[in-house]
């Protein structure tokens, strides 16, 4: 009868639906049965293992890491390492991968407060114990960047402080003497003013960049947030910070009323600097090797200026190699991490002035501290004792948004500095709750 046919048809349709559902949900959650510490393939059995390695470097900055990986693969012929380069939206990609259990075997990470609370990362403490790996070979402050909540989550990759590059030719043209280490804030503002003219910027001030403004605040004895990551109000709007902010505003006004090199020069103005439109440029050491090799620019480097009575406290860019908790080849991944981070790998990576090695010995061997261009960078490290704000609390990104908004109000809208810092500190404190 008709009703029988109808119900038979609907059964067919339902079966189709269900099979489509099953197909869609195919690679759902892997059962947490792969939570084994020390997988079954111990003992160096010669089966081929492929590891995925994820980094945010690309192009020229990827090459040093690729070189180290090639050396690793030569040493371990049964391990193949596939490099995944993610220059944009790295955090998002990593978090999605961790959430869907498709994370790479080894990846670079720096924002540990973000990843750790979810329990997606592998605690490296037991691995270090097992191999009696000597953590003393590293600079102590770098190890602080690898820890969160009392545990170790990564081994350091490389580190780079920041310094100021300057264009000697532009200084000569303006008949301004080259800056020297230990120069003051006032001297800096003056220099910026002298080197700014139509079509040329003395310095690029970036009101969006809260991260790289930190060292200025530290050098004047202030900070964004308390060391334990719980207090912003009272810290952000301190007297010293008001003075620092006034200084930054003066730099901004002296160099460019409105920063235009921000969005459309990649890497914050590197092309503009290389083509001689910016006289002084703040950055890490990564582009230095290439700039010197290209040889088109007569440049020098100098440490950041300091306020009267302040101490130079530089900021460190560093990151770590980490493993996901649910990785499938943790033994091999651990070997890769040890190699890349240890003396062998980091020596290859930091060749050609690319960065400093986290291993004290390798740094000495490279002799960068005496290199005329790298001296300034090495000096910036000397008194660095502060962790970046991101490492102190997992709620930093929201607080940072509010602080950035406050900074922009000061730079763009000439808001009263003390009042703005007070309001900003208060709002940011709310977010920490």
């Amino acid at each position: 009868m008709i009703s029988a046919k109808r119900s038979w048809m609907s059964v067919v349709v339902m079966v189709l639906c269900v099979s489509l559902l099953a197909a869609c949900g195919g690679n759902g959650k892997n059962e947490s049965g792969s939570e084994v510490v020390g997988s079954a393939s111990a003992g160096g059995s010669p089966e081929k293992v492929t590891l995925r390695f994820m980094t945010w470097d690309s192009g020229q900055t990827l090459q040093p890491y690729q070189n180290a990986i090639n050396a690793f693969m030569e040493k371990h012929p049964n391990i193949e390492v596939k490099v995944e380069s993610v220059p944009d939206n790295y955090d998002q990609k990593l978090l999605t991968a961790l959430a869907s259990n498709t994370a790479p075997d080894v990846f670079m990470a720096w924002n540990y407060p973000l990843y750790v609370p979810g329990g997606a990362l592998e605690d490296l403490g037991p691995w270090v114990e097992k191999d009696q790996y000597d953590l003393n070979m590293y600079y102590p402050i770098l190890m602080d960047y690898m820890k969160y909540d009392g545990k170790l989550w990564g081994l350091p990759t490389t580190y780079s402080p920041r310094a100021i590059y300057y264009n000697k030719k532009l200084f000569d043209e303006a008949k301004v003497p080259y800056p020297q280490d230990g120069w003051t804030w006032d001297e800096f503002v003056e220099t910026v003013g002298k080197l700014t003219k139509p079509g040329q910027y003395g310095f690029i001030a970036t009101p969006d960049d809260v991260f790289t403004a930190q060292p200025f605040f530290w050098s004047n004895g202030g900070d964004f947030i308390s060391d334990d990551g719980k207090q912003i109000e009272g810290v952000l709007n301190s007297e010293q910070n008001v003075k620092t902010m006034e200084f930054l505003k003066r730099v901004y006004d002296a160099s460019s009323k409105i920063n235009t090199a921000g969005k459309f020069s990649t890497n914050n103005g590197i092309e503009a600097f290389q083509t001689g439109q910016i006289a002084m440029w703040d950055n890490g050491m990564w582009p230095l090797g290439d700039m010197l090799a290209a040889g088109k620019l007569d440049l020098g480097t100098v440490t950041h200026p300091i306020p009267e009575g302040g101490t130079l406290k530089g900021i460190i860019h560093t990151s770590g190699y980490s493993m996901p908790k649910n990785g499938e080849h943790k033994d091999e991944a651990w070997e890769l991490i040890k190699f890349m981070s240890g003396p062998e790998g980091s020596k290859i990576i930091t060749a050609n002035k690319f960065a400093f090695s986290p291993v004290k010995q390798v740094d000495k061997e490279n002799g960068y501290a005496n290199d005329p261009y790298l001296k300034a960078f090495a000096k910036e490290l000397e008194n660095s004792d502060k962790l970046i704000a991101n490492m102190r609390t997992e709620k930093w990104s929201q607080a940072e948004d509010i602080i950035r908004s406050g900074f922009q109000a000061i730079f763009y809208n000439n808001a009263d500095i003390k009042k703005m810092l007070d309001t900003t500190a208060q709002k940011a404190q709310e977010v920490l709750k």
């Binding site: 048809m9 869609c24 978090l95 090199a261 908004s405 809208n413």
Partner: protein, 312 residues
Amino acid sequence: MSRTNAGEAALLRSARRKRWKENLAGWFFVSPWMFGFVFLMLGPMLFSLVISFTEWNMVGAPKFLGFDNYIRMFTSDPFYYRALTVTFKYVFLTVPLQVILAILIAVLLNRATVGIRFFRAVFYMPSLIQGVTLALIWGWMFNADFGPINFFLEQAGLPRVHWLTDPDVALYALVIVALWGVGSPMVLYLSALRTISSEYYEAADIDGAGRIRKFFSVTLPLLTPTVLFNIITSLIASFQTIVLAFVMTGGGPAESTYFYSLHVYRSAFTHFKMGYASAMAWVMFVMIVLLTGLILKSSKYWVHYEADGGGR
């Protein structure tokens, strides 16, 4: 008697069977879209509705929060009202401007005697560039130091404008970019204009109407169905603007282009608050539905469909 009844019954049965077959065929034709809709749209929408009542950073389990996300949105999010204001400002500038510009160009094109096909293509082509490409190109056009727009301004002796880095100007720069895509609705208006019977114009001529009068009393009223469509579609699209702001200004300077969708994106993918972002997305959805409903309701007062002889 029974024979005719049996015959009728048989006819009825085969008619029903035929209808049933046609129905089934219809469903099968639609089924690919249905599956897509259910699994790629309806399913995720329901999922995000559920998540909007939780706090979830993707790694780990969601934590139930009740209405906290919704309350927080309206009371303690320092950026929420900013995002709303920017988005509303943008929408209420772009939509009317787009409609007016599209109609104007269509009317002009309609009067062209020579090369109408060529000009129609020329006006339509810009709207083919979309998304990130559009944003990148205009980003460079608006660049204060190297961009062509400032170059020509300076040639004309006018001061440079900091299009994307001056908080007072940035939003308007984005409106200009939105107007770049005016070719799309323009083509619609053009074909609508063609369907206006010349009898109306002749009647207007006889009554002594000038060109302007004819435009406002004949052309415009007969275009209103297309205008309705245009308003609704571009309203929905401009509320959801994200690519332009994301690529060209990142929401700056000083949050002057901090669109609602940008705030949703940032809450989701920079702060990793999926629940809060979902809640905001649903509020936006409700707002758009309400606005669209309002416009549709109002349409019976100003839209003239030819079929019902015009008028209210």
